[in-house]
C-alpha cells in the first residue's frame, strides 16, 4: 500500500501539513471558513515533532502489524481490506485509550471533550494525494 513518508532533512517546521489536515477534515469550502469556527476545529491527524532544527511531520503509519487494531476492545479500529489503511470508527470508540497506549509512534490524538479518539490519519480517503503531502511546500512529505 502507499504510505506517507517524512523526509526529516527537508521538513521546515512550518506546520502547513497540520493546517491543511484540519481544513481537509473540516468539511468547509475555504481555509478561512474552516478556521473561523475555532470551537469546532478538528484536531490535525498529523503533528510536526520539533526539537530545534530537527523536525518532521508524523501521522499514523498504517502499520502492517497494527497494534491499535489488536488492542481496540470495541472494534473501532479496523483495517480496510481493500486499501490496507487503518480506519477509526468514532461511533464505536468508547475512549479507553488502549490504542493510544500501544501506538509505537504516538500518532493517535485524544479529544478530551468528546472522550474519544480525536483524530487519526485516514490518508484523506477519496483524495489522490493526502492533503498534508499535497501542501508540503518543501516536498518533505511524500506519498509512495
Amino acid at each position: 500500500m502507499k504510505r506517507i513518508y517524512a523526509k526529516e532533512e527537508y521538513c521546515i517546521g512550518c506546520r502547513l501539513c497540520e493546517i491543511y489536515c484540519i481544513f481537509q477534515h473540516s468539511g468547509c469550502q475555504t481555509l478561512v471558513k474552516a478556521f473561523s469556527d475555532q470551537a469546532n476545529l478538528p484536531e490535525p491527524a498529523v503533528r510536526v515533532e520539533e526539537d530545534g532544527a530537527i523536525c518532521f511531520a508524523l501521522q499514523c503509519r498504517h502499520c502492517d502489524d497494527a497494534p491499535c487494531v489488536a488492542a481496540c476492545i470495541t472494534g473501532a479500529m479496523t483495517r480496510d481490506p481493500q486499501t490496507g489503511a487503518i480506519n477509526h470508527d468514532e461511533d464505536k470508540c468508547i475512549g479507553c485509550w488502549s490504542c493510544v497506549m500501544v501506538c509505537p509512534f504516538g500518532a493517535i490524538q485524544i479529544n478530551k471533550d468528546k472522550g474519544k479518539v480525536g483524530s487519526k490519519c485516514d490518508l484523506c480517503e477519496g483524495e489522490e494525494v493526502p492533503a498534508c503531502v499535497a501542501h508540503c511546500p518543501n516536498e518533505a512529505l511524500v506519498y509512495e
Partner: protein, 501 residues
C-alpha cells in the same frame, strides 16, 4: 539606549479577515518580525525588523500578508535624498561600513535594454528550431592558431583542453560558506544535468560535491582556501579569482561564526576562525606574476584543463584582459558592476566597476585587433536576467556567461539583499541548520534545470529568427545588434550601429 531615528523600511499588512492565526509566518521569519504573543498565542508583526524577504507572504496559506516597501517620508531634497539621509543616520548609529548583499541597486542604466536583436525578413530565411537542429554547443578555452586536416578530412592539429557547454550559461562562483550546501548541491546537479558548469567559488569543494566535479570549475583565490592537489585534479577547469564585480579591488571576509565544522574542513582552516581573503593575491603584482600562477596551475594539472582568470570590469579592463590572455589564460571571465555577492560594503558595490556591456564589447574588440582573440574565451558576468541579455552578450563577443543572481532567484531568492546576515529565510545564503533545510536540493535542481531549459528554448527561437542555426554564428556578430537611445561614444565602444542604420 538613545532613540533610533531610522524608520522601518517595510510595511507589513495583515488582512485580519484572512488571517487564521496559524503561525506559519512566525515560524518562517528568521528576523523576529512576525511573532507569537506569549500571553494569548495570537500573531503580530514588528515591521521594524522586517527585511522584505517575502517568505511569510509566500508561505501564508490564506494570502493574508502583504509586505511592501515603506515609502520614505520627510522633506525631499535633490541632493540629500531620503535614502542618503537614511544611510548617514544608520552610520551615525553604528559607526560601521554599510554592508549589503547581491548586485547594486543604484539603478545604473542596463545597456542590454538599449540593444535590440535582429530577425530575418524576406531576404534571408529564418529557421524553425522545432523542425531543424539548432546548436548552442560552446567550447571554452584556447583555440589553435590554425587547423590542419589530413587527406580524409580528419583534424591533425592538436587542440588544447576545452570545456564543452551544451548551453552557453554557467553558474557563477558562489562558495560553500556564502551559500548552503543544499544550494551548492542544487547548482552542481543542475549544471551536470544541463551539460554546463558550476563554480566552487573560493571556499573549496565539499566532499558531497566531488560526485559532480567533472562539471565543476574550482577557484584559486587570494586566500587559497580549500586548494589541494585532489581539488585541482578532479575539476573540469581551474579559475584564478582576481576580482568580482560587486567588490572590485577588495577582499573577502567570512566571519568565524560561519566557519562551522564542515566549512572548516572544506576550506582547510580552523573551526571558528575568520576566513579572510586578502584584497590582492600577495604573489601577483603584475601580469608576469599572474603568468607564473597560471603556469603553476597548468603544470599542476598536467595541461589537462583550461585555466580561467576572473577579473572585475574596471577602468582599464581592456589592457588587463589582454594581459591575462598573454599570460596564458584560456578563459577570461569578466564581472561587471551589476555582479552580485554575499557580502560587500555598499559603497564599493554601488560605486566601483564598469557595466559588463562596455567591458565585454571593448575586450572582444581589442583582442581581435591584437589577433589573440582565439587564444582565450571570454565569459561575461554581472546581472544577466534573461536569455535575451545572454544572446546580446554573445553578439558583443562573449563566448558564454556566468549567472549567479538568476540562479539564486530560481532557487527562491527574493532579493532582500541581506545575504551578509547569514539568516537567509529561503535557506540559500545561510549555514543555520534550521534554515538550510528550507532548500530541498531536489526542488532546487529541478527549478534550475527548468530555467536553463527555458532559456535554451528561447535562445534557439531567437537564433532561428535571425536565420542562424548555431550560436557560433552570433558570437561577436554586432550586425545582429542595433542601439536605441545610446550616445555616439557608447555605440562606438560597443561597436554597434544605431537602429535605422
Amino acid at each position: 539606549m538613545a532613540l533610533s531615528v531610522l524608520a522601518p523600511e517595510f510595511v507589513v499588512k495583515r488582512d485580519e479577515e484572512l488571517c487564521i492565526e496559524c503561525g506559519v509566518c512566525t515560524r518562517q521569519c528568521a528576523y523576529d518580525a512576525q511573532i507569537i504573543n506569549p500571553d494569548d498565542g495570537t500573531v503580530s508583526t514588528d515591521a521594524a525588523k522586517c527585511v522584505g524577504c517575502q517568505r511569510c507572504v509566500t508561505l501564508c496559506p490564506t494570502g493574508a500578508l502583504t509586505v511592501t516597501e515603506r515609502e520614505m517620508t520627510g522633506r525631499s531634497h535633490p541632493n540629500w535624498t531620503l535614502g542618503a539621509q537614511r544611510d548617514i543616520a544608520r552610520q551615525a548609529e553604528t559607526g560601521g561600513m554599510l554592508l549589503t548583499g547581491m548586485g547594486t541597486d543604484k539603478g545604473y542604466r542596463v545597456i542590454w535594454d538599449n540593444l535590440i536583436l535582429n530577425a530575418s525578413q524576406v531576404t534571408n530565411p529564418s529557421i524553425d528550431p522545432l523542425r531543424e537542429p539548432m546548436e548552442l554547443r560552446t567550447y571554452l578555452g584556447a583555440k589553435p592558431d590554425r587547423i590542419e586536416l589530413d587527406a580524409d578530412g580528419r583534424l591533425t592539429t592538436e587542440v588544447g583542453p576545452l570545456l564543452g557547454l551544451d548551453i552557453p550559461v554557467m553558474f557563477s562562483a558562489m562558495s560553500y560558506g556564502s551559500i548552503s550546501l543544499n544550494a551548492c548541491l542544487s547548482l552542481a546537479r543542475a549544471a551536470s544535468a544541463a551539460g554546463t558548469y558550476f563554480n566552487s567559488g573560493e571556499g573549496g569543494l565539499h566532499r558531497d560535491l566531488y560526485e559532480y566535479s567533472d562539471h565543476a570549475i574550482v577557484q584559486v583565490a587570494s586566500g587559497r582556501f580549500g586548494v589541494h592537489a585532489e581539488y585541482l585534479d578532479v575539476a573540469a577547469a581551474v579559475e584564478i579569482k582576481i576580482g568580482q564585480g560587486a567588490k572590485p579591488g577588495i577582499g573577502g571576509h567570512l566571519p568565524g561564526e560561519k566557519v562551522t565544522q564542515p566549512i572548516s574542513a572544506t576550506r582547510m582552516i580552523p573551526e571558528g576562525s575568520d576566513a579572510i581573503s586578502p584584497a590582492p593575491h600577495h604573489d601577483i603584482y603584475s601580469i608576469e606574476d599572474l603568468k607564473q600562477l597560471i603556469y603553476a596551475l597548468k603544470e599542476a594539472t598536467d595541461y589537462s584543463k583550461p585555466i580561467s582568470v576572473k577579473i572585475a570590469a574596471v577602468n582599464n579592463i581592456v589592457p588587463i584582459a589582454s594581459g591575462c590572455v598573454r599570460a596564458g589564460a584560456d578563459i577570461v571571465a569578466i564581472d561587471g558592476v551589476r555582479g552580485g555577492t554575499g557580502a560587500t560594503p555598499t559603497v564599493i558595490r554601488d560605486n566601483v566597476g564598469i557595466p559588463i556591456e562596455f567591458a565585454v564589447a571593448a575586450v572582444d574588440g581589442r583582442l581581435r585587433e591584437e589577433g589573440i582573440r582565439h587564444q582565450a574565451s571570454i565569459v561575461a558576468a554581472g546581472g544577466f536576467r534573461n536569455s535575451a541579455d545572454i544572446l546580446k552578450a554573445v553578439a558583443l563577443g562573449a563566448d558564454a556567461v556566468y549567472v549567479g543572481t538568476s540562479a539564486l532567484i530560481a532557487m527562491g531568492c527574493h532579493m532582500c539583499q541581506k545575504c551578509y546576515t547569514g539568516k537567509c529565510t529561503w535557506g540559500i545564503a545561510t549555514q543555520d541548520p534550521y534554515l538550510t533545510k528550507r532548500l530541498n536540493p531536489e526542488i532546487g535542481t529541478r527549478r534550475l534545470s527548468n530555467l536553463l531549459r527555458a532559456w535554451g528554448l528561447e535562445m534557439k527561437e531567437m537564433l532561428g529568427g535571425m536565420g542562424m542555426n548555431s550560436i557560433d554564428s552570433l558570437r561577436g556578430n554586432r550586425e545582429m545588434l542595433r542601439a536605441v537611445s545610446l550616445t555616439r561614444e557608447e555605440m562606438d565602444i560597443l561597436d554597434v550601429a544605431p537602429a535605422g542604420m
